[in-house]
């Protein structure tokens, strides 16, 4: 193989074949585009060397000015701006002609129209792709500013004392494909900043001040810092006692509670000298002070020793704060709000209870429960109210009277006329559910068939909950359905309908996953722009709604 390869080089390059590719590439790099084009036609090996994408990227960048990437335009990523769902397609529609600034690698200011950037993003294979890094998006696309608001913690604007034209760059829009991003750096402005993720994923790695990441060399001068890399940079992943923070940031994994907790805990243990600083950070980031007061109350109530200095921060990356205090585990259910937490605690207690009841040997491998209960916050103090997981705890009933679950909601009086037919049909289907599932084939185990009815509400109207609009009370026209019912699970019909729950539940709405899934069945992924005709006919129809689009 190799010999054949070398033979090809010799046959195509003659004496020049002695020079390694990288030297030839350095030569090609010096040529203007037209000469590269002609050189490509002079020899088959030159043709290959002259078609390197990084070569043409650097050629374009060195020329500067507005950049256009020729190719098809098609996008399907969804960007969330604040609370509204905006597809990048929509963004391109609104701002396609607006030039945005591109991450700079050359002294020239490079900008690209959004539509051109999007086509570049979709088509490129660059190792280190260009990304939009624009500090003037507010000026070039003002409506974008209305799509977000600054979180309250950061609303104080120190640049406010400057005249507007004196302000340094202070807000950036960043858009980029896989593999794009900044390398190690210390924020050049040395400022505090907040970031929000609109869509996609981003990996952050953050180190405490003064700590240099593995494999990175810092050459520091008064003016600037230059970071260079060692091929051994992967060694950083082998650091067992790492004190840095590295996390993928995505809509389902925001940087916050869980990872921040793990990192802070590591720092707490490894760097006792920094504890004052870490505690401050932990109070802001993971409400360490609040959980610590809870912890104190719990320990006092159950006569457990108070947490030592080392034990003040929660451990692990679970969904709830967990403390280890003198060999005891204290778990505080908090995630997902009260209802969710009560459910979580109840389920866990039920599980322990069940193990006990059936005398499972598993019991030897799990901690014994000392106590469980609620913490009630009253008059600036926490108070413990015991609860063993059975019945509705008084403290809950007192503060949050629960609705009686059966029959009340969705009774005939509150169902708007146009939904009545539906509720009627559903109730009919519910009666037949066992037979229906049995007809489905042998896929559903008998035991589940028996239980199916238990899982359905007494009145199927319960599935639809209506809120009255404030304007017209009692006017059924003005009522809105606030739950989406997913009928696909109920029927044996077009398997296409099953794509909706699959997409929403299994893929969590991630279009890339859905695309891969469909590809594995050789099915095309309907793309808005590449199906312009369909797209036009769909506009303003019910098909443009989110649920239809998901399908």
């Amino acid at each position: 193989m190799e010999a054949a390869g070398n033979g090809r080089r010799e046959a195509a390059l003659g004496a020049l074949a002695v020079l390694p590719d990288e030297v030839l590439c350095a030569v090609v790099d010096l040529l203007p585009p037209a000469d590269i084009g002609r050189l490509a036609c002079a020899s088959s090996v030159m043709y290959i060397l002259c078609n390197e994408e990084p070569l043409w990227m650097s050629k374009c960048l060195s020329i500067g000015g507005p950049l256009e990437y020729k190719g098809l335009v098609y996008v399907q990523r969804i960007i969330t701006f604040g609370k509204s769902l905006v597809s990048l397609m929509q963004l391109t529609k609104d701002f396609g002609e607006v030039p945005f600034r591109i991450s700079q690698r050359s002294p020239q200011k490079i900008s690209m129209k959004l539509k051109d950037y999007v086509s570049y993003m979709e088509l490129q294979h660059d190792e280190d792709p260009l990304y939009i890094f624009d500090d003037k998006f507010g000026e070039s696309a003002p409506p974008l500013l209305e799509d977000y608001s600054v979180p309250y913690l950061f609303q104080e604007d120190f640049f406010g004392i400057l005249d507007y034209d004196q302000r340094p760059a202070f807000r950036w829009l960043i858009i980029g494909p896989e593999r794009s991003g900044a390398s190690w750096h210390v924020d050049p402005g040395l400022t505090s900043a907040w970031n929000t993720l609109l869509c996609g994923r981003k990996r952050w790695a953050m180190y405490p001040p003064g700590r240099v990441p593995g494999g990175v060399t810092v050459h520091e001068s008064l003016e600037n810092q230059v970071f260079s890399y060692d091929i051994d940079f992967l060694s950083q992943f082998l650091e067992k006692e790492r004190d840095h923070y590295s996390s993928i940031w995505s809509p389902t994994n925001s940087i916050g509670q869980r990872e921040a907790r793990e990192w802070l805990r590591r720092l707490w243990v490894l760097k006792p000298e920094l504890r004052e600083l870490i505690w401050k950070g932990a109070c802001l980031a993971i409400s360490a002070d609040k959980w610590y007061s809870c912890l104190e109350e719990i320990c006092a109530c159950h006569s457990l020793p108070l947490p030592t200095e080392d034990e003040k921060l929660p451990v692990g990356t679970g969904s709830n704060p967990v403390f280890i205090v003198s060999g005891n585990v204290i778990k505080i259910y908090a995630e997902g709000g009260l209802g969710y937490s009560v459910h979580g605690l109840g389920t866990e207690l039920e599980f322990y209870h069940l193990l006990q009841k059936i005398g499972s040997p598993l019991i030897n491998h799990i901690p014994e429960i000392i106590a469980s209960g609620f913490l009630e916050y009253k008059d600036d103090n926490y108070r413990t109210v015991p609860w063993d997981g059975k019945g509705i705890p008084d403290v809950l009933a007192k503060h949050y009277p629960l609705e009686e679950m059966t029959g009340e909601v969705g009774d005939a009086a509150t169902v708007p006329p146009e939904w009545k037919e539906l509720v009627f049909t559903l109730n009919g289907r519910k009666k037949n559910v066992k037979k229906h599932l049995a007809n489905w084939g042998s896929t559903v185990p008998q035991i589940l068939l028996e239980k199916a009815e238990e899982y359905l509400p007494a009145d199927m109207g319960f599935l639809i909950k209506f809120v009255e609009s404030e304007k017209a009370d009692g006017d059924l026209e003005q009522m809105n359905a606030i739950h989406i019912i997913d009928f696909s699970d109920l029927s044996v019909g077009d398997p296409l309908c099953d794509i909706i729950p699959l997409h929403l539940d299994v893929f969590r709405g991630d279009n890339d996953l859905l695309r891969e899934f469909l590809l594995s069945y050789q099915l095309p992924f309907l793309r808005g722009e590449s199906n312009t005709d369909i797209c036009k006919s769909l506009q303003n129809s019910k098909f443009s709604r989110a649920s239809y689009r998901a399908m």
């Binding site: 010799e10 046959a11 195509a12 390059l13 003659g14 004496a15 020049l16 002695v18 020079l19 390694p20 990288e22 030297v23 350095a26 030569v27 090609v28 010096l30 040529l31 203007p32 585009p33 037209a34 000469d35 590269i36 084009g37 002609r38 050189l39 490509a40 036609c41 002079a42 020899s43 088959s44 043709y47």
Partner: protein, 174 residues
């Protein structure tokens, strides 16, 4: 064989190092000049190449090495001034004249020089020779490039492939 003259040298006690070419010729040269090579720099900093030892360079023959050293000796003073920010226009013009003259050489010598500059990592020389090759390509048609660089004639198969490429790069011909 005598080492190339190292100019007058304003430092009489300049440290010398010995380099040994692939055909066993020894070249004695100022450490500052040899240090233009990134490859040699560390060895020299470690005190290598002095005395009777010498640094063997099995990839560079004596003809090429003498040419390389001619470049290094000429450029060492400017490099020692940190890229010569305070060099006079005359000095710079002189270096430029030298460079132009220096690469005005037979193609096979040029290629050996490229390889040596590459292996020894002499940055200035690397860009000088790369620029020379680029200049040989600039403004020529594919046929002329092929003739200039001595590419073998393509097989009919390759020619067909080439013709297709010429269509693709049509814009490169006005």
């Amino acid at each position: 064989m005598a080492a190339p003259e190292s100019g007058d040298g304003n430092n009489g006690a300049a440290r010398m190092v010995t380099l040994i070419s692939s055909d066993n010729t020894r070249f004695e040269v100022e450490a500052a000049a040899a240090s233009l090579s990134q490859t040699l720099q560390l060895t020299i900093l470690d005190g290598g190449g002095g005395g009777g030892d010498g640094i063997p360079l099995p990839n560079v023959d004596s003809a090429t090495l003498s040419k390389v050293l001619e470049y290094c000796i000429k450029h060492a003073p400017a490099a020692a001034n940190g890229g010569a920010p305070n060099a006079t226009a005359v000095d710079r013009a002189e270096l430029e004249r030298f460079d132009n003259e220096f690469v005005n050489i037979d193609q096979s010598v040029l290629y050996s020089l490229i390889m040596a500059a590459h292996n020894l990592e002499i940055e200035g020389l690397q860009s000088l020779v790369a620029k020379k090759v680029a200049d040989m390509i600039k403004g020529k048609s594919p046929m002329e490039i092929r003739r200039t660089l001595g590419f073998p004639d393509p097989t009919p198969e390759e020619q067909a492939e080439m013709n297709a490429h010429m269509l693709e790069y049509g814009w490169a011909y006005e």
